[in-house]
Amino acid sequence: MLSPADIATLWLTFKVAGISTLFMLLFGTPLAWWLARTESRWKGICNAVVALPLVLPPTVLGFYLLVLMGPAGVIGKFTTWLGLGTLPFTFAGLVVASVLYSLPFVVQPLQTAFAMIGARPLEAAATLRASPFDTFFSIVVPLAKPGFLTAAILGFAHTVGEFGVVLMVGGNIPDKTRVVSVQIYNHVEALEYSEAHWLAGCLLLFSFSVLLVLYTALKTHPVAHQSLK
């Protein structure tokens, strides 16, 4: 069975993933919009930087974040100056790391969705007196809804599944930074296979359900397969 400590890690994991997903959507949406529409020569570099966590070992990202957010790092000095202290081994640090780590899973589906909408509906909206801002919310968001759902689900699920970055940046502090993946590692280290099974099973079920939703429900979403006619 799941112990109260296990349940606490589950709760913490979903809290980190939920808050991170919100931030990723907040930053990822304008970033994806810009990447989908721009012809700037910086586009390639930005795309590469955003996609970096896809190929980088999580420990590498975690290591750099640890250094940057530590007392001697640029981010660390800034947060200290703000009176927030340093971020490593805190919940906030975990969220920052998760946002960077999972951002490509949010940006890429959004970017694809925005690119697929194309310029034509935006032009139609402009000829019907809608400002660019208005057009974004009245046309782009509804048309990119499947993209937003995919982005949120993938961002959330990927954050739930992270391990390396969490261990480097967050450590293993109960109720603060100890997430499910770390707890499973703890159980296995202590040869508590039965407890590890329960938690691992929970994550397996969760991940499968998420992907099932993604591949079945979204396929039949009314707007998902519509292109402009």
Binding site: E123, A124, A125, A126, L128, R129, S138, K229
Partner: protein
């Protein structure tokens, strides 16, 4: 009296340059005609502000939409225009009604009522489609909704970019009558882009012919159609279009007589009342020339005319422009006939018209 629309744009994409300076009438349908790549769509997009021409001036109803010398450029969404795209470009996540309401809500009608849409629904015959989603509509219905959506805002100008080009022949025939009605029932000036001579003949009051980013000719329809220095006059499909009114039905012969400025024509019976206005298209290849009024001929329409222009092409053909009353007529004849008849400018002749087509 309406003020003309001033349009001046210069744009250089390297491979393509646009250089246009036009005064367009503030009423009726002005057709921008040209082959693909002639710059007609680019011009329309510059007028709408969808494309930015670094050198530009655009003025309508004493309001300036762009003046690059003063650094003025009104973004599209602030221009009181209507735009109909080649593809209807309806919003797929909205019903037909919501598509029609989209613009109305943005010009201050918070909750548009039935009265706001009634005129355009009737004009375009789409009342029965209001609750449908747009992907259930046929191509023709979709384009009618798009026209209604643009018209609902009562724009100062309606810009139409090849609205029929993506439709098959049947759908085109379905929409053309609506466009003619639009023409008769609104005072909104319309700028209509097309590469179809058929649409020019059917809709244009004023014609602008474009080629390689420049204006080749512009002016009232018949005047421009009959200009011998314009490739259109040489085309196999060259034709002139006359405005005429029905004056008499000769029921016995299944004929209808119509009057144009300077004469009358007999046409195959038309099912419309006396006084109805129509457009009669006369192809240059259907017109022949005789020097004296023929005593006996099976051709029913023989009109006195004066030769006002002759050019020969390289294929042994002469294009002759004739003045008939106040109307202009084109005739395609062989160079040999022109020579044998001794055709000369100013010469009085008779034009025999073998066939006509009624456009609306």
């Amino acid at each position: 009296m309406t003020t003309p629309i001033q349009v001046r744009f210069q744009l250089d994409y390297g491979v393509f340059q646009l250089a246009v300076d036009l005064q367009l009438p503030g009423t009726g349908i002005t057709v921008l005609f040209g082959h693909s790549g002639s710059g007609k769509t680019t011009l329309l997009r510059c007028i709408a502000g969808l494309q930015y021409a670094p050198q530009g001036f655009m003025k309508i109803n004493s309001r300036i939409w762009q003046d690059s010398e003063r650094g003025l450029f009104l973004p599209t969404y602030k221009r009181p225009l209507g735009y109909v795209f080649q593809e209807a470009n309806l919003f797929p996540h909205l019903t037909v009604r919501a598509n029609l309401h989209y613009g109305l809500k943005r010009i201050g009608k918070k909750s548009p009522g039935a009265a706001d849409l009634k005129p355009v629904l009737e004009l375009l015959g789409i009342s029965h489609l209001l609750d449908r989603m747009t992907d259930n509509l046929s191509g023709g219905e979709r384009q009618r909704v798009a026209i209604a959506r643009a018209l609902a805002l009562n724009p100062e100008i309606l810009l139409m970019d090849e609205p029929l080009a993506s439709l098959d022949f049947k759908r085109k025939q379905e929409i053309l009558p609506y466009l003619s009605r639009l023409h008769q029932q609104t005072n909104i000036p319309i700028l209509y882009v097309t590469h179809s001579q058929q649409e020019v003949a059917q809709l244009a009051d004023y014609l602008v012919i474009m080629d390689e980013g420049r204006v080749v000719a512009s002016g009232p329809l018949s005047e421009t159609l009959s200009r011998l220095d314009v490739p259109m006059a040489q085309d196999r499909e060259a034709a002139t279009v006359w405005q005429a009114a029905i004056i008499e039905h000769e029921v016995k012969y299944h004929l209808t007589r119509v009057a144009f400025e300077g004469g009358t024509l007999s046409l195959p019976a038309i099912d419309a009342g006396i006084g109805t206005l129509l457009r009669v298209q006369i192809y240059a290849r259907d017109v022949s020339i005789v020097l004296e009024a023929p005593a006996a001929t099976s051709i029913i329409n023989v009109l006195p005319a004066t030769i006002t222009g002759i050019v020969n092409d390289r294929a042994g053909r002469s294009v002759v422009r004739l003045q008939v009353g106040n109307q202009v007529l084109l005739a395609h004849i062989t160079c040999k006939s022109a020579l044998l008849l001794g055709l000369q400018l100013g010469m009085p002749v008779f034009a025999q018209i073998k066939g006509t087509s009624i456009l609306n």
